[in-house]
């Protein structure tokens, strides 16, 4: 008998006997609309107010940074660029005014240099935007590089166990025991001049450890799950088990860890620039701006505050988005027999 015949025969047998939760009736217990996991995740994410607000703000910041002064040769809409020095007006104070006149302010005005000017008379808005561009670039490249390495190492260690695990985890442990700042500083010293992209990749090579441990833990517990055992019983090869069964179930963890990694990367870049190991002049980053003007804090605070504000905004919004994603991926949220 072919499968089809067999199946049909047994199906008629099963139904003919009016089997328990048989055909027609089963549908009644399932009257809710079928929804894919992705749809569920999206819906929950869209409901998370903090995450949605953060996402909007982050997108606006990115748009602002990249369209205002342009990027990679494409011109932006802002009148100044970030490298041409000019005449310092009014000690370089910001001309931006947001206080309406009826509250005793100067009324709403953008002025010539809304964020002010630096020592050389460069437009500080343009500089801040350049800094934001670079910092965002670094953040996301680090996010991608770090996540990739972390996931690969964590997955291999968690899935294969044995000497593969011992080897990889010993290596991870060593990486963890050396303070990140030290490694990054050494590498930054060497590669800092090679441009922000290289710097980002270097930071990514340092920041994967936490993620690797997390993913390994996830893999260790998932590989013992019965559905993975079932796949093995079906004869699935390791690659299939890793990519089709275990990885999809760690997406939540990975996404959350990646957002945290991004926020971390921004802060690490700031710290490195602060110490002079990050992006080098004439290019700039938010961290470099902050560190350059830390001494101007008392006299010309705007030079410190504007880039600082953007650092905080980016780090916070990314964190909130991570929160939202974590909730959206939380499997406990769909524990319903509807």
């Amino acid at each position: 008998m072919s499968t089809e015949e067999k199946a049909a025969a047994a199906a008629s047998a099963a139904n003919g006997n009016g089997n328990g939760n048989g055909n027609g009736t089963a549908a009644q217990g399932l009257s809710i609309v079928a929804r894919t996991q992705g749809q569920l995740v999206r819906r929950r994410f869209f409901r998370h107010r903090g995450a949605m607000i953060s996402l909007t703000i982050l997108v606006l910041v990115i748009l602002l940074a990249y369209t205002s002064i342009g990027f990679a040769g494409i011109p932006g809409w802002w009148i100044w660029n970030y490298y041409t020095p000019g005449k310092v007006v009014n000690r370089g104070a910001p001309t931006l005014s947001l206080w309406p006149t009826f509250l005793g302010g100067d009324g709403f005005a953008i002025g010539e240099h809304p964020f002010g000017q630096d020592d050389l008379g460069r437009d500080y808005f343009a500089l801040t935007m350049r800094g934001a561009q670079i910092s965002i670039l670094i953040a996301f490249v680090v996010g991608i590089v770090g996540t990739l390495i972390g996931v690969i190492i964590g997955a291999l260690a968690g899935y294969y166990r044995g000497w593969v695990e011992s080897g990889l985890m010993r290596f991870t442990d060593v990486m963890i025991t050396i303070p990140i700042l030290v490694i990054a500083a050494v590498l930054g010293q060497k590669f800092g001049g090679a441009g922000p992209l290289v710097l980002a990749i270097v930071i990514g090579l340092v920041l994967w450890t936490g993620l690797a441990r997390l993913i390994r833990g996830e893999f260790l517990s998932l590989r013992e799950k019965e559905f993975v055992e079932a796949a093995r019983a079906l004869g699935a090869k390791p690659t299939r088990i890793i990519f089709r069964h275990i990885l999809p179930n760690t997406v939540g963890v990975i996404t959350v860890a990646a957002t945290l990694l991004i926020a971390n990367a921004i802060l690490l870049e700031t710290a490195l620039s602060f110490l002079g190991f990050g992006v080098r002049a004439p290019d700039t980053s938010l961290g470099l701006l902050v560190s350059t003007y830390q001494n101007a804090f008392a006299t010309r605070p705007w030079l410190f505050w504007w880039p600082g504000l953007f650092i905080i905004t980016i780090a916070l919004t990314v964190n909130f988005i991570g929160d939202g994603l974590r909730d959206a991926f939380d499997p406990r949220q769909n524990r319903v027999r509807a």
Binding site: T3, N19, G20, E226, E229, A236, H245
Partner: protein, 387 residues
């Protein structure tokens, strides 16, 4: 020259033959080197067989190695020693590549209907995966999945849904459909109905019986519920601490149990009848299961057996045929069950009655203690009831 002289590859006695299967898990200590400090003897020399179209019910104490035996048959755990043959082909020495082919004939259904389905996969993928792995997925793949869904009493429209949208009983059906996709000959069912209410349970049991009738499947059915086992099995194997202590046809084992553990087990099975349930005698076994890290010498049941004699500690009882393939591994098989029940009860009570009752109680505790300390359960990170 004659045809008989050539041994055909298909000359085998039983569809599935398990011979002297041993499964040990190393227990590692702490520290950097994680030295092996002991072995969990989860399965110690299990021999059983399964013929086409029949059901072998497997029962026994929690942690006695039922699930481990099932997984070792499937080669999900590589057995420490022993042989498993399917249609005469040895599985334990097979390469992973060859095993992949054999898996088509040997499938498993798990206990937990919630943990055994990948939550991120729609039902069509869960069931179709088997076909894809074995290169059987063709244009009509979805239709075949639809047929399988119908076979287990679901409808093909359910295929696009995710596991969390189904009830426990329906999920268990999906698990069965997945196992059936490759048209296996042997299905290992590890407590497939334990998590379900009796009505849903009855539906799943009926389904399994229908499938057996139409597809000729053989079942290796593990369960704690003795009434379900009695209903579905043709033959029964009773396990205790990694060994099969009694095996035989259903009627032989249920009506004339010969091993003291079987007698105790059957006497403890609850019945859904308040009056008989409350007035019935049952045998209480004193003490816990001895540790599989350090099993007792001789008969492994002797530490809790009311009939134990010196020989039980010295010699391991071999399985002896009591007629019709009713194998019992006991030096003093049970003949009269009601007498046995009383004597077991007496045995349990004796500790409480020697002179001062307080001392009696302490004496009983001491006895159990000595058993326990001999077994030394406390050492080693091994859970007894892991499933």
């Amino acid at each position: 020259m004659s045809a008989q002289a050539v041994p055909t590859p298909s000359s085998y006695e039983h569809l599935l033959d398990v011979h002297d299967l041993v499964m040990e898990f190393p227990v590692k200590g702490g520290g950097i080197f994680r030295k092996v400090i002991g072995k969990v003897q989860a399965v110690s020399g299990v021999t059983m067989y399964l013929d086409a179209g029949e059901t072998l019910g497997v029962v026994g104490e929690s942690g006695c190695g039922k699930s481990t035996t099932g997984r070792a048959i499937l080669q999900l755990h590589k057995p420490t020693s022993g042989s498993v043959t399917l249609r005469g082909k040895e599985l334990t020495t097979m390469s992973n590549e060859d095993l992949r082919g054999v898996r088509r004939n040997l499938q498993i259904v798990f206990q937990d209907p919630y943990a055994s389905l990948n939550p991120k996969m729609p039902v069509n993928d869960i069931i179709g995966e088997a076909l894809k792995i074995h290169g059987l997925w063709e244009k009509d793949g979805l239709d075949r999945v639809g047929d399988l869904l119908k076979l287990v009493g679901l409808s093909p429209e359910h295929g696009n849904r995710y596991p969390h949208e189904f009830s426990g009983g329906q999920r268990q059906r999906i698990g069965i459909a997945r196992a059936l996709a490759l048209e296996p000959e042997v299905l290992i069912l590890d407590e497939p109905v334990s998590a379900l209410d009796v009505s849903v349970q009855a539906g799943v049991v009926n389904l399994l019986e229908d499938l057996q009738d139409t597809l000729g499947l053989a079942y290796f059915f593990i369960a704690h519920d003795l009434s379900v086992i009695r209903h579905i099995s043709d033959r029964i194997a009773v396990m205790y601490l990694g060994k099969v202590v009694e095996t035989g046809t259903r009627d032989a084992v249920y009506n004339e149990p010969k091993h003291p553990y079987t007698v105790a087990l059957l006497s403890a099975a609850p019945e859904a009848d308040p009056n008989s349930e409350r007035s019935r005698q049952r045998i209480m076994l004193t003490g816990d299961v001895p540790s599989p890290l350090n099993p007792p010498s001789g008969c492994r049941f002797r530490t809790r057996c009311w009939k134990a004699q010196d020989i039980c500690a010295a010699e391991e009882p071999p399985p002896i045929d009591h007629g019709g393939g009713h194998l019992v591994a006991c030096h003093f098989p049970v003949t009269d069950i009601s007498k046995e029940t009383a004597s077991a009860a007496l045995h349990a009570a004796r500790g409480f009655s020697s002179g001062d009752p307080r001392e009696g109680r302490q004496e009983a505790l001491r006895r159990v203690e000595s058993v326990e300390s001999a077994l030394d359960i406390a050492k080693g990170p091994v859970g007894g009831g892991g499933g």
